[in-house]
């Protein structure tokens, strides 16, 4: 399989209004193959979200380039769908209208918009809530809508920035299974940022561990559990072994981050 996303020497330096410089990312080189599911794991504040935002085109690298199918990323676009940690549904639109937002922006005919929205509403289990407003839904349902909204646009790659970070543990586990189920049935390239080790292993074919700030990719670990995955693998010895290894890696980085 070919590389769909290529991150080439991407670094990011933030300059405060007083001129103070903070290196958020040291040059990162990273590739994601087509239809791969990659998680980026790292302690908070390590720059992993910055990297994701640069891929999305919402932030600009200080140096380096991001290529998607060989095309240089210059700004945000519909070919890179994004799900944020905060609830970003448009509060004035119903669930169905939210999912149709991108399709409408693109000028897709009404009937086709409706058909696609219906398909993804069913896919994330929100049948019956089409006409509800976001505030009438729980956090988990809102994030399911956000996933459906991003997928309805049929992006080349789906970017997720700790999408389940604000949810309670039980809901988070169910959401992981839902997203993984969708990925297993409809192949899609996914780049998923998280600080949750279990989540990173369970979802991914490959886990990239980020170092403490200034961020860089420290190690990559392949996760070779077959698909479809069942949640019971989380208690298997193989899973535990990977978890133990990643725990050590992350612990070292969190302590390093604490010193600064």
């Amino acid at each position: 399989m070919k590389n769909q996303l290529s991150i080439r020497g991407v670094s990011r330096v933030f300059v405060s209004p007083k001129g103070q410089k903070t290196q958020a990312l040291t040059p990162v080189d990273f590739d994601v193959r087509e239809n791969d599911f990659v998680t980026i794991l790292g302690p908070s504040g390590c720059g992993k979200s910055t990297l994701l935002r640069i891929v999305a085109g919402l932030d600009h690298p200080t140096a380096g380039t991001v290529l998607l199918d060989g095309q240089k990323v210059e700004g945000p676009g519909a070919d890179r769908g994004m799900v944020f940690q905060s609830y970003t549904l448009f509060p004035w639109l119903t669930i169905e209208q939210n999912i149709r937002f991108g399709l409408r922006e693109r000028g897709m005919p009404e009937a086709q918009q409706k058909e696609r929205a219906d398909y993804f509403i069913a896919k994330v289990g929100l049948r019956g809530f089409e006409q509800h407003f976001p505030k009438q839904l729980s956090g988990g349902m809102q994030q399911r809508t956000a996933i459906a909204r991003a997928l309805a646009n049929d992006p080349k790659i789906l970017l997720l920035d700790e999408p389940f970070g604000a949810l309670d543990n039980q809901t988070r586990v169910l959401m992981q299974e839902l997203l993984l189920g969708i990925w297993e049935s409809a192949q899609k390239t996914v780049l998923f940022v998280t600080h949750d080790i279990d989540e990173a292993i369970f979802m991914a074919n490959r886990v990239a561990v980020f170092s403490a700030r200034p961020g860089r990719i420290k190690t990559e670990i392949a996760v070779n559990f077959p698909h479809p995955r069942h949640y019971t693998i989380k208690t298997s010895p193989e899973f535990m072994a990977i978890k133990a290894q990643l725990t050590e890696e992350i612990r070292a980085e969190s302590m390093a981050a604490d010193v600064h």
């Binding site: 999305a56 085109g57 919402l58 700004g75 945000p76 676009g77 519909a78 890179r80 769908g81 994004m82 944020f84 905060s86 970003t88 448009f90 509060p91 004035w92 639109l93 937002f101 991108g102 922006e105 693109r106 407003f133 505030k135 009438q136 956000a146 909204r149 991003a150 646009n153 970017l159």
Partner: protein, 271 residues
């Protein structure tokens, strides 16, 4: 060892902070103050504690009010005042709302206009009356322009702030869904700020009412403000108070109507 139990104290929930009251109680309490107000007023005037030359009693006020409608065609004055308020206010809104949205959305335009508008905002509309009489005469245009000057800068600034404080994450989400800059303004910034813009218009309409009376006090031959000046020269405090109360009532009605409309239009924002 267990800690000694705190003495049971019956809690008066109705006095607890932020404790809601039932709609019926709310209504009764609101009405209660009006009753209290008229009672105190009645005691002072009818009880002879204040000279009728300076303050008419509620009874005199009601009689004078009746006379105003039957003898002096007061309904025409009310109509003139209402039309001036809405004329000036609508003119201001039609110009200030789109321009305010553009200022809020485009920081360059905001940097260009904001300092001037902030300056104009503090110019008292009533101080323009002499100038406006010079420029526009004492006709309708002058009254409408007073309302316009009093409203347009306020709406502009507040709408610009409302649009400019849009949620950044919603704008970013829209970009990742393929929205173009014009789509961001039309389908994210405007709908997001719409409830607040409606509230701003409701607020400024209230202020417009205060300007119109000042505009009518000078160089006017009709309107509630004109009636008040006329009554002053006749020392008819009953008519003056009745005029003031009518203004209050019209303001209250338009405010209720505006609120109800906003609630209907923007049901999502009060969920």
């Amino acid at each position: 060892m267990t800690a000694p139990a705190a003495p049971e104290r019956p809690r008066r929930r109705s006095l607890a902070p932020l404790e809601p009251v039932s709609p019926r109680t709310q209504w009764l309490l609101g009405l209660g103050f009006f009753v209290l107000f008229f009672t105190v007023w009645g005691v002072f005037t009818l009880g002879g504690l204040v000279s009728p030359t300076f303050l008419a009693s509620p009874v005199t006020m009601a009689r004078e009010g009746w006379l105003l409608f039957t003898e002096f065609n007061f309904i025409h004055d009310i109509g003139m005042t209402v039309w001036r308020v809405f004329g000036g206010f609508l003119l201001a809104a039609v110009i200030a709302v789109p321009l305010g949205i553009a200022m809020g959305a485009h920081k360059g335009l905001e940097a260009f206009l904001e300092p001037f508008v902030s300056f104009c905002r503090y110019l008292p509309a009533s101080a323009f009356i002499p100038l406006l009489i010079l420029w526009a005469g004492i006709g309708e245009l002058q009254k409408v322009l007073v309302i316009f000057i009093g409203s347009v800068f306020q709406i502009l600034l507040m709408v610009a702030v409302a649009v400019g404080s849009a949620r950044k994450d919603l704008v970013e989400a829209a970009y990742t869904l393929g929205a173009q800059p014009s789509g961001i303004v039309k389908r994210v910034l405007i709908p997001g700020a719409a409830p607040e813009i409606a509230e701003i218009l409701r607020l400024v309409l209230g202020w417009a009412w205060t300007y119109v009376i000042v505009a009518e006090l000078i160089g006017s031959s009709s309107g509630i403000g004109h009636m008040i000046t006329d009554s002053q020269s006749l020392l008819n405090t009953g008519q003056i108070i009745f005029g003031i109360i009518v203004i209050g009532l019209i303001g209250l009605i338009s405010d209720f109507a505006f609120k109800a409309l906003n609630r209907r239009l923007f049901a999502w924002s009060s969920l």
